[in-house]
């Protein structure tokens, strides 16, 4: 037999290969940090720049202002008016109204469907529901916005006899369609990861299927279901295209859900293109972006922690 001469392995290749791989792994981490830095950087002038503070100091954004002599003080968002008004209240209320409707719409449907899917559905029905939900999740938000704008708004107006076609209800329902898949997926996952031993224990004590669900599965999965709801809320608050197209975008302070609303995200989308780089308005929009970022960051972090703990606890019980 002829000799086989093996080449010694290149240590350099191994070294650089590992470095290349690990460098890439830090992109996600760096991206999050960069997003943080570059969004906040542009929001900082609101706190330090006197020129910016003149129109958009913190108290001007939060408290009622008397913009014109002799008129009532009020909250108002009119950045392009002769007297620029940067009150965040109308946007906050708009965001809250739209996401509240979305959650009221999405929680019963998403959690209900998740319970049905995990507790009652036969395998075949599950194989219809799950791809259907994936399909719903795959619909681009601009398409949902389009649908709400063209079809849903008209339908709602005709059936309810509304004054405004585009309002918080309309935007909220469309937003709910985007939230349902999140609530469903997280809740269903939490319920199916409840170990069989738990179910069996309850069944052996004579509980029927629904009692098992109600007394053992649901309580065990509650943290997961609430995490799904919280993550869904994060999505509702951050979602842009749907509210931009379906809400009417009027920045008004009112308690009625039938009024048109303007949300934080839609405000950025609608106004950033027209804004002057470095202007007060520009910084305020980045500040709104910072608020959205911090808010969703906290929501995702807490959802993440809850879900990891839940998984650990349930799987710890299983083994």
């Amino acid at each position: 037999m002829e000799q086989l001469i093996f080449k010694p392995k290149s240590r350099w290749r191994e070294f650089f290969g590992e470095k290349l791989i690990s460098v890439n792994a830090f992109v996600a981490l760096i991206a999050i940090l960069l997003i943080f830095v570059f969004i906040f950087k542009e929001a900082i002038p609101i706190f330090v720049d006197d020129y910016v503070k003149e129109d958009a100091s913190l108290d001007k954004m939060v408290f009622k202002q008397q913009y014109y002599e002799g008129r009532e003080a009020k909250w108002s968002w009119q950045p392009n008016s002769e007297v620029p008004k940067f009150s965040l209240w109308p946007l906050f209320i708009g965001t809250l109204k739209a996401s509240l409707v979305a959650m009221l719409f999405a929680i019963p449907l998403g959690v209900g469907a998740a319970i049905y899917c995990s507790e009652f559905a036969s395998r075949r029905i599950r194989e219809i529901i799950k791809p259907a939900i994936e399909m719903l999740a795959a619909i681009p938000s601009v398409v949902l916005g389009f649908f709400a704008l063209m079809v849903l708004a008209t339908a709602l107006q005709n059936t309810l006899g509304l004054t405004f076609r585009l309002n918080a209800i309309n935007a909220g329902i469309a937003l709910g369609l985007a939230v349902i898949p999140i609530v469903f997926t997280v809740a269903e996952d939490a319920m199916t990861s409840v170990p069989h031993s738990l179910r069996d224990a309850a069944t052996a004590l004579g509980a029927n299927r629904w009692q098992v669900s109600l007394t053992t599965v649901l309580p065990a999965a509650i943290p997961g279901i609430s995490a799904g709801v919280v993550l869904g809320f994060g999505r509702a608050v951050g979602e842009t295209m749907i509210v931009l197209m379906a809400s009417g975008n009027a920045a008004i302070v009112s308690a009625s859900f039938l009024d048109s609303v303007r949300t934080f995200s839609a405000t950025i989308a609608a106004e950033l293109a027209e804004v002057v780089f470095g202007d007060t308005h520009y910084h305020v929009l980045f500040m709104i972006g910072s608020l959205l970022f911090v808010f969703t960051f906290l929501i995702n972090l807490s959802g993440d922690i809850v879900l990891t703990r839940l998984k650990e606890r349930l799987q710890g019980k299983a083994t």
Partner: protein, 321 residues
């Protein structure tokens, strides 16, 4: 209340029978109610898709797909938007696949899941997936265009107007790449987890190094997962509008993007513009529906392919075991 009732009667056969009956009925209502939730979701999905398919089908023609918009978007087609979308996601995929795949490999092959750095990266990935898309848009503007692009301009083109420091397809695609990074990572990781330990060991036992094992055994084995992740990323990227509004998408362009610093038209943005800025919505409606249908078909077909590959991958894993 009911437990109080239960106690004195447990010995009576009659009452036990009665109780059983009650139990069954109690299970029926939640079953019905939750099924209603499923029905409503399915119904809404059907209405949305049905409405778009019915509204859009008459518009779709060869001409619609291959011609640019005319008469202020009231006639003509959507070819530049299709072209722009495809170019955008191709650039995005080129950026996101290596980063996503290498990240997944690092997490699965090089570090233990309990190490601090792995946890930190995982938190970053999960949060990246949850950052609102409009914030990505702001970031693209602030970082890619103003910081990177503006930096390049002041270094290499100090005399001219903005070359890189302006909205462009490269910045839009990089922004989308960050947005879709978690999709690729998670999908690749799932594929890596299914590769049995024995295969890695066989490679090591034959004198393969870690890098050789990754390159020759692990990546080929994970290809379906990588493919699934990429397709899902493309589908997601093709549908996002908020991140590209300020980073490169344009209302209307008389030319197709040919350079990395060109602006571009895009299907989703085209829909938004036509739906909200059109002076005569009734006149644009057929074209609008047609465009929505094209976008929906694009994302749905990409998703179906991804789901198909994924389910095949899962099945082959079961049969291998």
């Amino acid at each position: 209340m009911k437990t109080i009732e239960l106690q004195p009667n447990t010995n009576s056969l009659e009452v036990v029978g009665h109780l059983k009956f009650g139990r069954k009925r109690r299970g029926f209502i939640p079953r019905g109610v939750t099924f209603l939730a499923v029905l409503i979701i399915l119904l809404m999905l059907a209405v949305i898709i049905g409405n778009i398919v019915i509204g859009g089908t008459p518009t779709i023609s060869w001409e619609f797909l291959t011609h640019p918009p005319e008469q202020g978007m009231e006639a003509g087609g959507v070819f530049p938007a299709i072209f722009g979308t495809v170019a955008l996601v191709i650039l995005m995929v080129i950026a996101v696949i290596p980063i996503g795949v290498f990240t997944a490999i690092y997490l699965q092959e090089y570090t233990s899941p309990k190490s601090r750095i792995t946890r930190l990266i995982r938190i970053a990935i999960n949060n990246l997936a949850g950052v609102p898309s409009i914030v990505f848009g702001l970031f693209g503007l602030g970082f890619f265009i103003a910081f990177v692009g503006g930096g390049l301009d002041s270094l290499f083109y100090p005399e001219e107007g903005p070359v890189w420091g302006q909205p462009a397809i490269i910045w839009a695609s990089l922004t989308l790449a960050l947005l879709t990074l978690p999709v690729v990572i998670i999908s690749t990781e799932e594929a890596l987890r299914t590769i049995p330990r024995e295969l890695r060991e066989a490679s090591y036992a034959l004198g393969g190094t870690k890098l050789q094992t990754i390159w020759r055994i692990i990546i080929p084995q994970a290809t379906p997962g990588i493919l699934t992740g990429s397709i899902l990323a493309v589908s997601r990227g093709a549908g996002e509008v908020a991140p590209i509004m300020f980073t490169g998408a344009a209302y209307y362009l008389p030319y197709l993007p040919t350079k990395l610093n060109d602006q571009f038209m895009e299907l989703g943005y085209h829909i938004y513009v036509m739906a909200t800025q059109s002076p005569d919505i009734e006149a644009t409606k057929p074209l609008l529906y047609g465009t929505v249908l094209v976008l929906l078909l694009l994302t749905f077909s990409l998703n179906s392919v991804a789901i198909l590959i994924r389910s095949r991958m899962r099945r082959s894993r079961v049969s291998a075991q």
